[in-house]
């Protein structure tokens, strides 16, 4: 007779389950990335968020081939204006007769372009400044921190609005304005993390052994703050998409005929409530994408920083 193996609940385990366990042990359980992936896949809401983001990525890449009317970014068909959703036009048509669904797909490209560029630029600016300001305690770090304070003292949308207005409304200026108003958040997070990690004995030990400050910062301090950085970046994507849509709505971003979601809502508001599909489609797109990033960001925070875990089941 085979020996029975009992699991923690006292149930006998099937051989298949045992085999599965062994297989799981065969994985390099120490790999942090692998563990992270496994935990994300176990979190239902995180999977939803991840699917939304992957969907956005796919549509952005494949937009020219999956859009039914790729030419409708610029073309006009006055005869078909303001058609309700149908099989031919799943999201209806707009005031110039363009297929809204096609424009949404291309708008996803713009959204991704804006948010990735802004968050990337914020990381590029925020991480080095934060590391310097957090690691050293000198005039330079004071300068960085006070500059960040100045930017944080002005409401983000208003500052971005003023900048976009001053530089002239265009996509690059929108990206610039969003970056300029958002980098201090990254700096502050990195400063706080740097100061925490710096106190650890292993950092002091590295210094005591004569490791150069730059090596200490890059090899010991920076890798230890990747988790909060990943979480902040993911949540920032959602926030940036939101702010970009607001500025687009106010006419500060990409100019017509570019299919920017915020600008599409702005055009559509004149035809509400009769052409309800016109504003609903881009509005839903913004809502779903922002929610996707937030769900994934929240889940990442719960996984990577268990101290902040909230009652989320």
């Amino acid at each position: 007779m085979k020996p029975m193996v009992l699991d923690t609940q006292g149930h006998a385990e099937s051989p298949a389950r045992q085999a599965q366990k062994t297989a799981r042990l065969a994985w390099p359980a120490t790999s942090g990335w692998w563990l992270l992936g496994q935990k994300i896949l176990r979190d239902r809401l995180a999977v939803v968020g991840l699917c939304i983001i992957l969907g956005l990525l796919c549509t952005a890449v494949l937009a020219p081939s999956i859009a039914p009317f790729p030419a409708d970014i610029a073309a006009t068909h006055p005869a078909q204006r303001l058609r309700a959703p149908s099989v031919e036009h799943p999201c209806g048509t707009d005031t110039l007769g363009r297929d809204i669904y096609s424009r949404l797909l291309f708008g996803g490209r713009l959204t991704l372009l804006i948010s990735l560029t802004v968050v990337g630029a914020c990381i590029v600016i925020g991480v080095p400044t934060g590391l310097i300001a957090g690691y050293y305690e000198n005039a330079v770090s004071q300068l960085i921190l006070r500059t960040a304070d100045i930017f944080l003292a002005v409401p983000r949308v208003i500052l971005a609005l003023a900048m976009a207005q001053a530089l002239g409304p265009s996509l690059p200026n929108l990206i610039l304005a969003l970056t300029v108003t958002y980098w201090p958040w990254f700096t502050l997070i990195v400063v706080a993390e740097t100061r925490t990690v710096k106190k650890a004995t292993f950092v002091e030990a590295a210094e005591a052994l004569g490791v150069s400050p730059w090596r200490t910062i890059l090899c010991h301090v920076l890798p230890n703050m990747l988790s909060p950085l990943i979480v902040r970046s993911t949540l920032s994507m959602g926030l940036t998409i939101m702010t970009a849509a607001v500025l687009g709505f106010l006419g500060m971003g990409a100019q017509p005929p570019a299919p920017e979601w915020g600008a599409m809502i702005a055009e559509a508001r004149l035809y509400l409530p009769d052409a309800w599909w016109y504003a609903t489609a881009p509005g839903l797109a913004i809502f779903v994408v922002v929610m996707g990033f937030n769900l994934l960001g929240d889940a990442l925070r719960d996984i990577l920083d268990p101290r902040l875990r909230r009652g989320r089941r």
Binding site: T201, E207, A208, L209
Partner: protein
């Protein structure tokens, strides 16, 4: 011969509230192959002493005002920083920290950390395999099971006791002359504490390594140390062979410390009345007179000098009037 000799060390800290006299004319020594316990209440300057020896006191806010720290006859306070990093710190003098988890970088496998620590700063590295074998043998000696398989593991995969063993291995690996252990077992539970301390003792005795063991646990001192230095408010109150210190405690502070051990008395637990004096404005004369039941007018005016009351048993107290007794530091 003394491996480490600290003479009249004075260290101040500049703070917003004023100057804190953390170490005030401290004198102590550690001889070859000896384990010396450094005991005292929290805040009496034990850790500052350790940091001074390793040359990792941040200056400012700290200022080393006077004194010398002789390591094998060489004054560490006057050695160049480059010399300190290439020859002494982490090579001839190593350190066992309080919290092993904070001491290990969570993102690197322990094997990598031990290797880097050993080879860092060496001009011509030894061959990789040699170093690996050396690390494995050290891990074996600190009784980590199947060490070769553990090298690729991360710190979080080890238990608290094993992490402390890893840190001890790190301290032993460069074959140092002196190990400074700052409350090496305060993060562990009692059963593991005993194991680790006895392991440490046997390992250093094998090698003839000297240890300065900072602790506040007199039980650990009794079990482990050859000699003990009792510190109070930045000064050594008593320095004696362990047996002598426990059988003939001579400084009133040492008596009180021993009296406050729960297992040595019947009935109530007795503490020492009062608190450690604030070191911004320390009491004049003997630092302990505010809490001492034998305080005399003399104690408030003059600091007592160290006096040898028994063989190798030094006390700083006016209860033992000697010719040095009136020599005044203040």
């Amino acid at each position: 011969m003394a491996v480490l000799e600290i003479n009249d060390l004075v260290v101040d800290f500049e703070t917003d509230q004023g100057i804190v006299q953390a170490i005030d004319h401290l004198t102590l020594n550690v001889r070859e192959g000896e384990i010396v316990g450094l005991v005292g209440e929290s805040g009496c300057g034990k850790t500052t002493v350790a940091r001074c020896i390793l040359g990792v006191v941040p200056q400012p806010p700290a200022h080393i005002r006077a004194g010398e720290i002789l390591f094998q006859g060489q004054d560490l306070l006057r050695v160049s920083d480059a010399d300190l990093t290439t020859r002494i710190r982490g090579k001839a003098i190593t350190f066992i920290p309080q919290d092993p988890l904070a001491a290990l970088n969570p993102l690197f496998p322990v094997g990598v950390q031990l290797r880097d620590m050993l080879t860092w700063g060496m001009r011509r590295g030894r061959r990789a395999r040699e170093i690996r074998e050396h690390i494995i043998s050290i891990l074996q000696q600190v009784q980590i099971p199947s060490p070769a398989e553990q090298l690729g593991k991360y710190p979080h995969e080890f238990s608290g006791g094993q992490r402390q063993r890893l840190v001890i291995a790190a301290a032993l690996a460069p074959a140092p002359t002196l190990i400074i252990a700052d409350e090496p077992t305060s993060a562990l539970d009692v059963t593991v504490q005993a194991q680790i301390l006895l392991l440490l003792k046997s390992l250093v005795q094998e090698r003839g390594t000297s240890v300065l063991l900072i602790t506040h646990d007199l039980g650990v001192v009794a079990k482990l140390c050859d000699r003990v230095v009792v510190m109070y408010a930045g000064q050594e109150a008593e320095m004696a062979p362990t047996a002598s210190a426990f059988t003939h405690p001579s400084h009133p502070y040492t008596w009180k410390l021993l009296e406050s051990l729960p297992e040595r008395q019947q009935g109530d637990i007795r503490g020492i009345p009062g608190v450690v004096p604030h070191l911004i404005d320390p009491p004049p004369g003997c630092r302990f007179h505010t809490r001492c039941e034998f305080a005399m007018p003399l104690c408030q005016q003059h600091q007592p000098a160290a006096l040898e009351v028994l063989p190798d048993h030094w006390v700083r107290c006016h209860l033992f009037p000697g010719e040095g007794s009136y020599a005044c530091h203040a």
